[in-house]
């Protein structure tokens, strides 16, 4: 085959694949893309060859260092550039504003939008030629490009108080708060970190923002003690047969719920409740999250880094999401100091020993979070006690000594 023949073969095969991808019941990305100026040839030949056609490209956008990605195809025929744009927290758009963004996308871009990426940005495919002026245009709309490079990425929050009845703190305000916190805000354009940093905010243990795994620092609403029960409502539901006590008991994964004829049918052991939300989602609003609201702070989650996937690990139970600022800044400065390129914060914590490092900088945090009550107990025999602690133990032992005679 000549080069040309080969090209034609690829192009034919690609076209057939695209056709297939436009069939079927579900809305097709290909159908959408075909309505835009996106160089679909790059996609179809990628599919035909079985290999992505994209290499890193370059772009000229003056004095803007994060928030866009430039691409060129391996054969040099096409190029692409996309902006990663900050959504307002919650991703609500009045149609008027949405239309402005669409106009922007048509005027400066290809008319193709990934409405929200996995991290949380809106990804708009641009016309590379007009990218520089587009920056000013998007700013005029009240938002900006961001969310790439070795810096703070876009932060993300669940819809929280704007629509959700479970929300235990204002996740949207929390995102705003951290995005505009000066030491963070001032760094959104710098690529000075060893790797990326992400914060995510979920309003309750359902963790709709996936803050437990996909964030270097995760904030998850929780509470102390038992869920909050409206006994009247609960008895109503039971009476109406809307709710079965057996199911409540069976579905509680921590065995915290037991039958109790006196007080409305059930009893919840606050020490045992693991905040699974199972009873709450079943019996809402007769059972709600507890009233003593807290925010769990997790650290170290990420997908890859040096040591592979990690769940974030609990650091502290905050009274208020704002309490974590000092801690986060300290952890980042340790990480910045000593970590090689491509080590995420979780890798650093893993290497240096999570609890050691966290403890060393956690003085600004409230109550330390408790671990699993499974044998993961302190095994270090020594301790530096305060006089108060010493007294407590002395008193206790005095009683025992008395009990057993001297």
């Amino acid at each position: 085959m000549t080069v040309n023949d080969k090209d034609i073969a690829i192009s034919d095969k690609g076209a057939k694949i695209l056709e297939y991808l436009e069939s079927g019941k579900w809305p097709s990305h290909v159908t959408e893309i075909k309505k835009t100026k996106y160089p679909i040839r790059a996609y179809s030949s990628g599919l035909a060859i079985g290999e992505t056609q994209w290499y890193g490209g370059s772009a000229k956008i003056r004095y803007v260092y994060t928030g866009f990605i430039a691409r060129r195809t391996k054969d040099g025929k096409d190029s692409e550039l996309h902006f990663r744009i900050y959504h307002p927290s919650g991703q609500f758009y009045r149609t008027e504003m949405l239309r402005k963004i669409l106009d922007f996308s048509d005027e400066y871009g290809l008319g193709l939008i990934e409405v929200i990426g996995q991290t949380g940005g809106m990804i708009i495919s641009m016309n590379p030629e007009r990218a520089d002026e587009a920056i000013d245009a998007i700013r005029n709309l009240g938002t900006d490009v961001g969310d790439t490079g070795d810096t703070y990425r876009d932060f993300a929050s669940c819809v929280g108080p704007a629509l959700c009845e479970y929300s235990l703190y204002d996740t949207l305000q929390a995102r705003d708060h951290y995005m505009t916190y000066e030491p963070i805000y001032n760094n959104l354009s710098n690529q000075l970190f060893p790797f990326k940093v992400k914060l995510k905010f979920s309003g309750c243990p359902m963790d709709c923002a996936r803050a437990s795994h996909r964030a270097d620092f995760g904030f998850i609403g929780t509470w102390e003690g038992s869920p909050d029960v409206d006994w009247g409502l609960l008895q109503d539901k039971i009476r109406k047969d809307d709710l079965k006590i057996e199911r409540l008991i069976k579905e509680c994964p921590s065995g915290a719920i037991s039958e109790n004829r006196e007080s409305g049918g059930i009893k919840i052991d606050s020490e045992k409740c693991k905040k699974s939300m199972n009873c709450i989602r079943y019996a809402f609003p007769a059972i709600k999250p507890g009233k003593n609201r807290k925010v769990a702070l997790l650290a170290g989650g990420n997908i890859k880094g040096r040591f592979g996937p990690k769940m974030g690990k609990p650091v502290s139970i905050l009274d208020d999401y704002a309490q974590a600022k000092e801690f986060i800044m300290k952890i980042i400065s340790i990480w910045e100091d000593g970590s090689p390129h491509k080590d995420r914060i979780g890798d650093m914590l893993f290497k240096s020993g999570f609890s050691k490092t966290v403890e060393a900088v956690s003085s600004s945090l409230p109550t330390e979070i408790e671990g699993h009550p499974t044998g993961q107990q302190r095994i270090i025999a020594s301790a530096v006690l305060t006089d108060e602690e010493r007294e407590g133990y002395s008193k206790w032992v005095d009683n025992i000594v008395k009990e057993y005679g001297e």
């Binding site: 579900w26 835009t36 307002p88």
Partner: protein, 369 residues
């Protein structure tokens, strides 16, 4: 453009978020007291003030890709039947908002006419998340977007409640082991090479220091990033730098390719791995990273029949055996991955076998069977 350079480096953030909210939501912030699920993607939100709002969740095309055209029609529909506000969910779907059930059904009707579907709450498929892959990603191995399309065609029935499943189901598809969608979905499909890399001996130099002297002071990045220490750099006779790849130790993670475009893989060995058991929600057994069910199966674009069949098999197994309300992730953990593999008769090799965690000192010490 602003003439002040330092000004241009400053980001313009869309804060405060309340500026983007319609009055109906602003006045009810944090006051939602109850909700009703009306099926078909519609939730009624009831505020303590007595207000009612309805959200209609509409499934997006793969990778949440829309033309400005389509979104403009969405805006028109919302203006006609809704309160003039749309939102994008964390998982890439679109929510229309209206103030009555009737109007919500009209919205649903409109988008269905366009070929879209509403659905995806409670015991259903909530979404199939896809990364960008061949659409613009440099490190993609398989094309997650087209896999996602095919999976949605097959499993859309669980999104629209046409067929029921025991609990929420969340699927993620990633084009490469970077897995931008993360590992906390019930099912995670990940494209990978299935083989160790080679490199273009000419061009690899572009990723290496020019002179071997540089090796004395620093390790080239492509060497450093390899988690298995498979890549080593050495001084060539002409004083330039060469590399070697130890194929035995490689896990095909692609980190080397992440930092150097001239690392290449044999594309005939590409496949996908399937992981199960991930979730981020604290319900049931709590959060968990997904685990490798099967490390590799071949793929046949564009119908990806292998992926579709295996996922259907997994879902059927779950449907047939889970307790009501039990997520796939919780089910797999209850019976154990090993049992799950056995039931599906999946060959077990070192790649989907039980693994150690790096510092699991102190568990029961005699696991020999």
């Amino acid at each position: 453009m602003s003439t002040n350079l330092s000004e241009r480096m400053k980001k313009r953030l869309p804060v405060p978020y309340t500026d983007s909210l319609p009055e109906e939501i602003k006045s009810n912030l944090g006051k939602w007291a109850d909700r009703k699920f009306h099926g078909g993607g519609i939730i009624e939100h009831i505020s303590e003030k007595g207000d009612h709002l309805f959200t209609i969740k509409v499934g997006s095309p793969p990778n949440a890709r829309f033309s400005s055209n389509t979104l403009r029609v969405f805006a028109d529909i919302e203006d006609k039947f809704g309160i003039g506000t749309l939102r994008f969910t964390r998982s890439g779907n679109v929510e229309f908002i209206s103030d009555s059930l009737e109007k919500s059904l009209l919205i649903k009707n409109e988008i269905e006419k366009m070929g879209f579907h509403a659905g995806g709450w409670r015991n259903s498929l909530w979404s199939i998340g896809s990364c960008t892959a061949y659409l613009s990603c440099t490190t993609a191995v398989a094309d997650s977007s087209s896999i996602t399309k095919v999976l949605y065609d097959q499993f859309g029935k669980y999104f629209t409640d046409e067929e029921s499943i025991p609990a929420k189901l969340r699927i993620s598809v990633a084009g490469c082991p970077t897995a931008c969608g993360g590992l906390t979905s019930d099912i995670v499909v990940v494209g990978h090479y299935g083989d160790a890399p080679s490199f273009d001996p000419q061009k690899i130099g572009l990723c290496l220091p020019r002179s071997a002297k540089a090796l004395e002071v620093a390790v080239p990045e492509v060497v450093m990033v390899c988690p298995m220490k498979c890549i080593s750099a050495f001084k060539k006779d002409d004083d330039t730098v060469g590399i070697q790849i130890n194929r035995e130790k490689c896990i095909a993670c692609g980190r080397c390719k992440d930092v150097c475009d001239y690392i290449t893989f044999d594309t005939t060995k590409i496949g996908i791995s399937i992981l199960v058991g991930g979730k981020s929600s604290n319900t049931g057994r709590g959060q968990n990273l997904a685990m490798v069910l099967i490390p590799w199966i071949p793929i046949s674009p564009p119908n990806y029949r292998e992926v579709v069949a295996v996922l259907q098999k997994i879902i059927d197994m779950w449907k047939g055996n889970a307790v009501a309300g039990e997520r796939l992730a919780d089910y797999v953990r209850r019976i154990g991955l090993r049992e799950f593999q056995k039931a599906l008769d999946i060959p077990v090799t070192r790649w989907n076998n039980t693994e150690f965690v790096s510092s699991e000192f102190g568990i029961r010490q005699f696991p020999v069977r």
